[in-house]
Symmetry: C2
Subunit: 292 residues, 2 copies
């Protein structure tokens, strides 16, 4: 049996009791290490689970899935995923490969950023399509995700923006190649980086300005109410509600960050919840949301 | 401290290790028993947690929240919620009440139907606004949710339909009054009921027919690809992919059920995953999705 097990969002103890039992009895345990990370590293997980983990990077899962699935028809193999196995990133490829090999599989769910963002008080059922915001380069500055934000806002829906990350915890090597090195066939590992709410907000404001220059009416402005979230589910999680302008300077600390662009029509109960996380008046930006 | 703890979707062991540790050391533990249920009842939870649970119905949580929060500033109180505390139903009211009383709170997240539906292979980020389908009565036959499905489909997004439930497990009494009894002030508890995928699909088809009668072009037809899900996260979960017509007769067994109306443009990987759950040709409906 192949078990796809969600680890949740915080630390080692966010695994479910059922998930932990399975991890402890599987013959091999893989840790998916290329889409997200917990606040603790591989060693802490190994210590708590009482099992050695094999770190599986993107290359391995995509190109050597058969190694992961080896003997999974006669023994139990666990594939651990931060969040939920079918959260922001799906692991359909591994499931399909297993099914073709006649290997049964089972999913043990957990919280993912896709549902845990509800903790800010915005109602999950009012979220529209989720978008990803990636780092711009000199030559690649995609704005297309902004159309989805626009559509969501036109329909009164909130937008969860997942912010790009290439993370390198002390014990997990995430391989990410630069375009230049890729073209030249050089295998060089780039330093880790993650996008902060500040960076995402600045990029969004640049798009807003570009749209104004082109004479378009931007669906989002400097005053649009947003929510920045950091380390959701961890002991030191931080949530800040304020304008997009405020999101450029708010200090949410360490990764991982996510950003929500609200959908315009906000329920009084949502607004009351957001007020718990309102950026204070005396913060570096004076444009705080007095309405909250 | 007030702890809002998600129990996940299956049985007692779907609580997280962190959640279980908190439950075992809280001075009082409440079980929210009006929005969803696990596949096991209160006794099974009490046995596994090693704690007595106080069942809190909607009336109690809304009108006697202060009892729940009593002494939570000097001791730890747990409020257990099936799924995630900020999933399909938010518990913002309790959080706001606690905050006003100066009681700190913490959320321990878990899987909810809002993210666990990803197990069918449809990509979560492509879901639009979530809708609720309620039981029609002779006098109340709301169709307004259908506009949201239409908007989602126009934008290529899938729609998760949450199906109404009034459940009465052996040990949890869910109070639900009929309109007639409510008007007459009689406190009589109605029998439990939950909406099946079959009932939801039949209701949807009736709306489609009504729209045709009114000369409107329905956004959904008998042939629209849908996914029925039952007992997501439980050992015996069932998923069936097929046309809306097929959803009228597919047998998914016991509650809880959910229905997804796909968004039209389906990624090949999504389609390949759905094919794992395709309703077989020889089922009672011959209109199976051959394309899958």
């Amino acid at each position: 049996m192949l078990y796809l097990i969600g680890l949740g969002l915080g630390d080692a103890k966010d695994i479910t009791v059922k998930g932990l039992e399975v991890v402890r009895r599987c013959s091999r345990v893989y840790l998916e290490a290329y889409t997200s990370v917990l606040t603790v590293g591989k060693e802490a997980l190994e210590e708590f689970y009482g099992r050695k983990l094999v770190v599986a990077d993107r290359e391995e899962v995509e190109q050597e899935a058969d190694n992961i699935l080896k003997d999974a028809d006669i023994s139990d193999v666990a594939f651990l995923v931060v969040g939920d196995p079918f959260g922001a990133t799906t692991h359909s490829d591994l499931v399909l490969r297993a099914t073709k090999l006649g290997i049964p599989y089972r999913v043990i769910h957990n919280a993912s950023i896709m549902n845990a963002v509800g903790c800010c008080g915005l109602q999950l059922y009012k979220f529209g399509e989720t978008v990803s915001i990636v780092f711009w380069t000199d030559t690649w500055r995609p704005e297309s995700f902004f159309d989805k934000v626009k559509k969501n806002r036109q329909n009164g829906m909130h937008t969860l923006c997942l912010l790009e990350l290439f993370l390198l915890p002390t014990d997990i090597k995430v391989k990410e190649q630069s375009l230049e090195n890729l073209i030249k066939g050089r295998k060089i590992y780039e330093p880790p980086r993650y996008m902060s709410v500040n960076q995402a907000a600045q990029q969004l404001l640049e798009i807003v300005q570009n749209q104004r220059i082109r004479g378009e009416e931007p669906a989002v402005t400097e005053e649009t109410l947003c929510v920045g979230l950091a380390r959701v589910g961890a002991d030191d999680q931080k949530i800040a509600a304020g304008t997009l302008r405020q999101m450029c300077t708010v200090d949410l600390g360490e990764p991982l960050h996510s950003l929500i662009i609200t959908g315009g029509s906000i329920h009084p109960m949502e607004m009351e919840m957001l007020s718990l996380f309102s950026i204070p008046e005396n913060s570096s930006e004076s444009q705080s949301i007095n309405g909250l």
